[in-house]
């Protein structure tokens, strides 16, 4: 005779640690330090305003979103919420530190960095004044909403005020690959002018003589024209960061993708230019080869 068991016992869940967004973690730590009187501040800034101008999400265009989700789910352990919309499918990752929206809208740019802003209406005016373009927007009466377009060099961008987005299934495991870097190739002087006004960025040269500039966490600008003295079309590439490069590269090949040779051309990181099994290009970065 089998022992009776209550099906509700299947609901028991151990606590699975999950890294929160790094900006949130840093912001909360500062708040705690302030509350504990450990840090002198010029004035309290609300956590949401403090995060203005930081990277909040990345749109990553693929050929077929379901197939891509299968690929990256296997590769990085991603879990996502599937959202069909206007004939296209999106997958929003739910277990990465930074949300990746995998989407198969062929009209979308390959990579669109999404930045947080508190006042979308003001940001739209700022984009237009600075020579950028707003292609679509939905702005609420309180200044919230979103706006999508491009900067004055044609680099795509999306601005939004994060809100109470709808509920989704909770993740059951941590991802092994996350957004490491949004790599923007553009004229650094123009980018500095545009994004300083719009998002408050101050570009910091990686080291004297470098043509690579750090903008905000996970976003960098490489002035390819200045570096190589040749014309280059402004563009955005997406790098995913993993613990070690070699095992992930091997897995990409096993899954039917392609991985280029490992380079060490990005500070302490080893990198590899890769593509998934549908030919969508992305980069990998890791501090060790493994």
């Amino acid at each position: 005779m089998s022992e009776r068991s209550d099906a509700f016992e299947a609901l028991l869940r151990p606590i699975t640690p999950l890294a929160p967004p790094s900006e949130f973690a840093a912001s909360l730590r500062r708040r705690l330090e302030q509350e504990l009187g450990m840090t002198l501040t010029d004035g309290l800034v609300s956590p949401s305003a403090e995060l203005d101008g930081t990277l909040a999400m990345v749109h990553f265009r693929v050929v077929d979103a379901d197939r891509a989700m299968s690929f990256f789910g296997d590769l990085f352990g991603w879990q996502a919420e599937r959202v069909p919309f206007e004939g296209h499918v999106s997958h929003y990752t739910v277990n990465t530190e930074l949300t990746v929206r995998i989407l198969d809208d062929p009209a979308a740019p390959p990579v669109v960095p999404n930045y947080r802003v508190t006042d979308v209406a003001a940001a739209v005016r700022s984009i237009e004044r600075a020579g950028g373009r707003v292609a679509a927007s939905e702005i609420a009466t309180d200044g919230g909403g979103w706006a999508q377009g491009a900067d004055d060099q044609g680099v795509p961008l999306l601005l939004f005020r994060p809100g109470r987005y709808h509920r989704h299934g909770a993740p059951t495991r941590a991802a092994s690959g996350d957004v490491g870097l949004v790599f923007i190739r553009a004229d650094a002087d123009r980018a500095e002018r545009f994004y300083r006004t719009l998002l408050g960025w101050h570009l910091e040269r990686a080291h004297p003589g470098s043509h690579y500039f750090e903008a905000v966490a996970r976003v960098g600008i490489f002035d390819e024209v200045a570096a190589f003295g040749r014309e280059a079309t402004p563009s955005v590439s997406l790098y995913f960061v993993v613990d070690a490069l070699t095992p992930v590269v091997s897995r990409i090949v096993q899954l039917g993708g392609h991985a280029g040779p490992a380079e060490q051309d990005m500070g302490p990181y080893f990198t590899s230019l890769c593509s998934d099994d549908q030919g969508t290009e992305f980069g990998l970065m890791a501090e060790t080869l493994g």
Binding site: D6, L11, R13, I15, R29, R31, L36, R164
Partner: protein, 170 residues
């Protein structure tokens, strides 16, 4: 003057290790990252307040998870009030004890849980997802053990219906 700062320093020293645990606990239970961030903030701010008290108790990760659990219950209670979801469910057909022997699909099981009304969801989460004994659930809910047992019976019945129908009872 190192003395008064020691509990605060201990909290900050714990912060990097504790935050993923607290955040993971909250995301897993509430399924909403923004809410989880709010509740994690409230949890750590409560820890700061505790650390400032004279003869402050040592803050540990289990202690922080316990605070986070209280914050989650408060959140669901507020949400129930705000959305007028609290209903006095008196379904006599459901007032029977009920070892349910169905095999639950883990992912769907949690999705169904998220669609239940506030009281039911809170009670089932504390009792089954967190695995707390009924008296502790009662304490967190501010009810008697007897009332909590009654609530759990109704919540299980509501859950079973929702799981079978594919819809919640909200």
């Amino acid at each position: 003057m190192e003395g008064p700062d020691i509990p605060g320093k201990a909290l900050l020293a714990l912060y990097d290790r504790a935050l993923p645990v607290v955040y993971g606990y909250l995301v897993d239970r509430c399924g909403d990252r923004v809410v989880a961030e709010d509740l994690a903030s409230e949890t750590f701010l409560a820890a700061v307040a505790a650390a400032k008290r004279p003869a402050a108790a040592e803050v540990s990760i289990p202690w922080l998870v316990g605070v986070a659990r209280h914050k989650l219950v408060d959140h669901w209670r507020r949400r129930s009030r705000d959305e007028h979801l609290v209903r006095d469910v008196s379904d006599s057909a459901s007032d029977r004890e009920d070892p349910w022997e169905a095999q639950l699909d883990a992912m769907r099981a949690l999705q169904v849980l998220e669609r239940l009304n506030g009281d039911h969801r809170t009670a089932l989460t504390l009792r089954y997802v967190d695995g707390l004994p009924v008296p502790q659930v009662a304490e967190l809910l501010g009810r008697s053990v007897h009332a909590t047992e009654g609530l759990l019976v109704r919540a299980r019945a509501a859950y079973r219906r929702a799981y079978g129908e594919g819809e919640g009872d909200v």
